[in-house]
Symmetry: C2
DNA sequence: ATAGATGCAAATGTTTTGCAGGAAA
DNA sequence: TTTCCTGCAAAACATTTGCATCTAT
């Protein structure tokens, strides 16, 4: 069975919090892990219903939140106002193409360092951040 | 009369685009300029109704969009999903306190430079960006 | 006179909530 | 057999749109 590690992580989280281990939660986790990065709740809903037509919107929303709390997923909100989820992984930022919708991840230790300096200068304790560059990607910029 | 420069800029924009110069548009511009940074459409609506009780939500929304197109306002969307507007000014980023809601602006030329490097590396033409650090401000961080 | 603006109500699209029935512990 | 989940329908929320009316030009 696929995604053994993540399934076990979910099971542990559920047990630790006296929550219940259901088919729906496993199904949604599987679909999410399979679907790749930056999926919306609706993406997950559509895909999970291919295998499990009974599942409801509500359950998807609730489960995606749960996966975030369990540290398996991470929420991202871009400028279109739709919440997206990605598999929890190393700290990074995004380039978003406003023509084709492509999302590219990047990392930059120089920016990280500068952020820390700024936070310190303002007495701020930074818990999370977002950093997105919007524009046209290589394929979409003409001329 | 206050905000002469901006009123004139709006008038010019309207004329150039064959749009009409109405009391509502002036009133909303005034309120927006008076209200300070990072106001929501609802903020503007509440304030403008103190002087002009007849004005509708719709007009505020439409006019804030218009002010953006005219280059007098600038849209900002933070993680709460509510669109905010600020007076168009030099490029900058934001520190957002998730306890008290305070928003602090900062500028960092090092980050700007790094962004340009990254865009170049990916063949991206950056049109705009957002960069927000969420956490607790000096007054809200305890211990 | 006429293109464009207004304001109400209704629609939109995403996400959340109430609740009765259902499944896991 | 109790606690937690599910799924539906309805609500919530910010924002947009249809449309009849009104106003600036």
């Amino acid at each position: 069975m696929a995604h053994e590690v993540e399934r076990r992580a979910l099971a542990e989280y559920l047990e630790k919090h006296s929550l219940k281990h259901t088919k729906q939660r496993d199904a949604i986790l599987d679909v999410f892990l399979e679907a790749g990065q930056h999926v919306t709740s609706d993406d997950v809903y559509q895909r999970v219903r291919e295998q499990h037509p009974g599942i409801g919107y509500t359950t998807v929303y609730r489960t995606m939140k749960l996966l975030c709390e369990a540290g398996l997923a991470q929420e991202q909100t871009f400028d279109d106002g739709i919440t997206r989820y990605e598999i929890e992984h190393e700290h990074h930022d995004h380039l978003v193409c406003t023509k084709c919708g492509k999302i590219i991840e990047f990392e930059c230790s120089m920016i990280e360092a500068a952020q820390n300096d700024i936070a310190r200068a303002y007495g701020f304790r930074v818990l999370r951040h977002r950093h997105e560059l919007y524009g046209h990607c290589e394929d979409c910029r003409e001329g």
